[in-house]
Symmetry: C2
Subunit: 569 residues, 2 copies
């Protein structure tokens, strides 16, 4: 394997090689824990703020900064959590996926899951136990919410502080590798959610070592990585190597880049472009497809456009507009960002043009937002009717099935699966889970906890619950009470989805209270109310959410529900 | 004229139409000063935070905010300064430049000047009086340091707070129009330095009216305009209209955009791209060339690349690397950013490739900096051996002639004029001015003054002088003690420059202690010490800074100095 990590603790035969970037200091000592022995050793200084050392038989280590033992920013494992020692990992994992070729972008059907709440046991083994179920459902890749070490045992993952360390409470590095290995053996891909904009509030020791964070850009939820100021070469290295690390060392099939709209970089080459360049090289070296997916709130096609069209060349991005259009129309909600949505015409635009705000004034944002996607293919966009944010960021944390009835829910499911885009299910959605997905944390810093509680009390008002409590976490776990009508519908529509391409050459129209989508010799009818529709061709039913005639042609009255027909001429 | 300003006070026949963007308020009152009469009138509310009103016979006005009279953010004139009332201007200026076609980018030879210190009287009239001198010198365009109203009577101009108001102490709007009109009559262009990144510290009332400033980006020298957050459409409008205003209402031949590296914008269309689009439209409407020039510290060719190459399509940009390479080599200075410069090879690179830091690690910046300019033409870059920053930001404020001797000074002059780029002279340079250009202010806010003085005491140490004192200002004024040897040399080299194109197809080599540049059938010899050079062709002298042989060929010994030869074969 040509790529090797040059940060953290790396084993080479009988040696362990340590390397850290710590430009704030002229000298640096490492604390080495060997069997029943603790040694403090001065590191060798290299150029540009790096220090390195080789030693033997080290089990744990930390760095001595201002007389405190601080874990390694590139620690591979923090068995005792964010404040504990870093562990040296030398065991080789016995990969069994030599033949694995990855998941082609056109075949992606994504299943987003949160390791802690997906199963009762809340760890990687809990996911492994469900791989057969997921394979049987028909999805082709799971997308893990972030697993980089965060403070405490419970967290969505976006408060991670050790980019390279796999969350101890999920089972750590070995268990994550086992999950990927088992998934690959079953033909399932694994995409990892990684956070390259900010780091979390507890256990963030990065700033002790060097200028990891920007001095000129700020976010409300934590410091932002420094991608364009002094020392940014090394910060960029820390981040781009992390992306490669998950691909090479963990055999990930893709990365979901969190909130790229909060990554600021005025360098000639944007960090996203640099990440995508490096991933493309890895892809060709490894001869397997790596899917690079951005969460972007910008509605800017630059993120996913090829280089020759001035883009960052990311493979695909989430499209919140699609979600919001469906959600606002079906629920009638108009608060917060749903203010900008609600008409059936917007669903048509979402199906046809992806972005609804593509250079259009947004009342919610109080500005003109976005730009048209042009001729970018349907496979460049990930769509969903639920995800961790769209459920979890609601005051009530409610899933869609608690807001609309099953019939409307299935109409929305039909629409997003039958869109030209890549569908993403949020765990439990496929069988009608009704448990909420709440915001939960497990911090230990009292000041931080108090600030968090006060902030959320203000924000949530009567909906307030304690983010720190076990109860909040447990309530968010999947119940696995399966509604087989929904589950079977999902299995069937996934089968149909797999037959389709991602051509955006589709015909969408509104007739009476229905949306009609014609594509790939299929007709999709989504009737939000009883409707009368008119058809020029004859169509044969292949799937429906309610009673629908087996053949339709000419003027037809239909009841509420969605159906997929095949050309019967 | 198709373009009309829709902000501020605009006269239409006998009416004055007022329009202001003030989204912080649901209602807004204007204070109207008519002859011996003061009226307070409620404005009419429009969409998106705008208010408007029509009235008659108004001489001055202000807006009532929290019971205080605040001047108009789009005021055309602040006769009493930044804290005073805004003036309604209804007089038509009698333009005499109907036939004026602007200055083609290829013909630009720029003369940067500061209105306050250029002449003893320190106003626009003082510049008008020197137009014949400037024409006779041979430059084709003057570039005025910013004239937007700043606090007090003395300022470099970068503390401007009313983008549309012409500095009262310089003579105000009428006098600026007169200067442009007179310049055009003599065939000289006028470029205006405009500041679209930040506003100054005194008299900045913009934030009282609306979110003019970014909540997420910061600079050390003032708030940054909000180009991409809520309400940014209107801030962008305020700024882009300002650019057009100088072109349409003041007949400017170009704009120099201050510090574009401090303009942050993650919108799909960058504000610089929007400005350049709008200026191109103005250019074709007005049928005269408008030169859009950026001051950029980014060494990023994106700024000046055409759209099809993913650029912002700005016409040209300053190149500090060129300056630093020459300055550091000639002076031997290595402090601050000169740390990155000093070798003769860097001068060669500057002549050949423009940017020295074009993807190369900078020790001073502690990061890899810049990107190569590729095949962008020489006319995309402005070069200089002095400018207001490179003199004024020195602790000693010293001009180059106080740092090196006349011979070395003229060698540098030769190099920058004979480069493929557009030359820019800083006022006085052409006749050997030795007065410093110091940093001076005339604020009235005591806290601000104290902070400024303390800050500069710390920064300057033994070099400290009081930025607020009249003396500092007067010391910075041009003495007009003309060294005719230098002046004549400048006149002659400008004549030669005018014969050349901006092709970057030049040959540069180092021989002994000399730089040899072959271009356009000319040979430029710049000998920093006695040198022996070898020539394959025969050359005839056309201009030199010292005694040089009239013909040279084969092996030749030359003394220190620079000379320009023409092919004599």
């Amino acid at each position: 394997m040509p790529w090797k990590l040059d940060l953290g603790a790396n084993c080479e035969k009988s040696n362990v090689s340590f390397r850290i970037w710590s430009p704030y200091y002229d000298s640096l000592s490492i604390v080495l824990y060997k069997q029943n022995k603790k040694e403090i050793v001065e590191m060798n200084k290299e150029d540009k703020g790096y220090f390195s050392l080789k030693d033997k038989d080290v089990e744990y280590y930390s760095y001595l900064i201002e007389n405190m033992e601080i874990p390694d920013p590139a620690s591979r494992y923090q068995p005792e959590g964010v404040h504990g020692k870093s562990k040296v990992l030398c065991e080789n994992f016995n990969w069994e996926d030599k033949e694995w070729e990855g998941i082609d972008q056109n075949n992606l059907i994504i299943y987003e899951l949160h390791v802690g709440t997906f199963s009762e046991r809340g760890d990687f083994q809990g996911v492994i136990e469900k791989l057969d179920y997921l394979k049987n459902l028909g999805i082709t890749a799971i997308e893990l919410m972030p697993v980089s070490q965060f403070g405490g045992k419970r967290n969505w993952g976006y408060d991670g502080v050790f980019l390279y360390a796999v969350q101890n409470s999920y089972g750590g590095p070995y268990e994550l590798k086992r999950l990927v290995n088992e998934a690959h053996k079953k033909g399932l891909g694994v995409i990892l959610d990684v956070v390259y904009n900010h780091v979390g509030p507890e256990g963030n020791y990065l700033g002790k070592f060097g200028p990891y964070f920007s001095s000129r850009y700020t976010t409300p939820w934590g410091p932002i990585f420094n991608y364009d100021e002094a020392w940014s070469d090394e910060v960029r290295h820390y981040v781009t190597q992390n992306a490669l690390y998950w691909i090479y060392e963990y055999h990930m099939d893709g990365l979901r880049l969190d909130a790229v709209h909060s990554i600021y970089d005025i360098s000639p080459k944007h960090i996203l472009s640099e990440i995508s360049d490096k991933i493309k090289i890895a892809e060709s070296e490894l001869k397997r497809k790596i899917n690079l997916i951005a969460e972007s709130d910008l509605n800017d096609p630059k993120i996913i456009s090829p280089k020759e069209k001035c883009g960052y060349n990311i493979d695909a991005q989430w499209s919140d507009d699609f979600h919001h259009a469906l959600h606002a129309y079906a629920t009638g909600e108009r608060d917060s960002y749903y203010e900008d949505f609600g008409s059936i015409e917007q669903i048509v635009k979402a199906l046809e043009k992806v972005f609804i705000y593509d250079g259009v004034y947004s009342n919610f944002r109080k500005k003109t937002h976005g730009a048209p996607v042009g001729d970018l293919g349907g496979n460049k966009f990930i769509v969903y009717i639920q995800n961790h944010d769209q459920i979890g960021n609601r005051k009530d944390g409610k899933r869609l099935l608690n807001l609309i009835d099953k019939q409307n829910f299935l109409i929305l499911s039909t629409l997003y699966f039958m869109s030209p885009y890549i569908p993403m299910i949020f765990m439990g959605e496929e069988y009608g889970e009704k448990n909420p997905f709440l915001f939960f944390t497990d911090f230990s810093d009292v000041q931080l906890i108090n600030a968090l509680r006060e902030g959320r009390k203000k924000e949530l008002g009567e909906y307030y619950y304690d983010p720190q409590s076990d109860d909040t976490y447990n309530k968010s776990k999947l119940s696995w009470k399966i509604d087989y009508e929904i589950l079977n519908f999902y299995k069937n529509i996934i089968k149909i989805k797999k037959e389709l391409d991602h051509s955006r050459n589709i015909l969408v129209k509104i007739e009476d209270n229905s949306l009609l989508i014609e594509r790939d010799k299929l007709l999709v009818v989504a009737a939000f109310k009883d409707s009368t529709i008119h058809l020029k061709k004859k169509w044969k039913l292949i799937l429906s959410t309610a009673e629908f005639p087996e053949y339709i042609e000419g003027e037809i009255k239909i009841g509420r529900g969605a159906a997929i027909y095949r050309n019967a001429n």
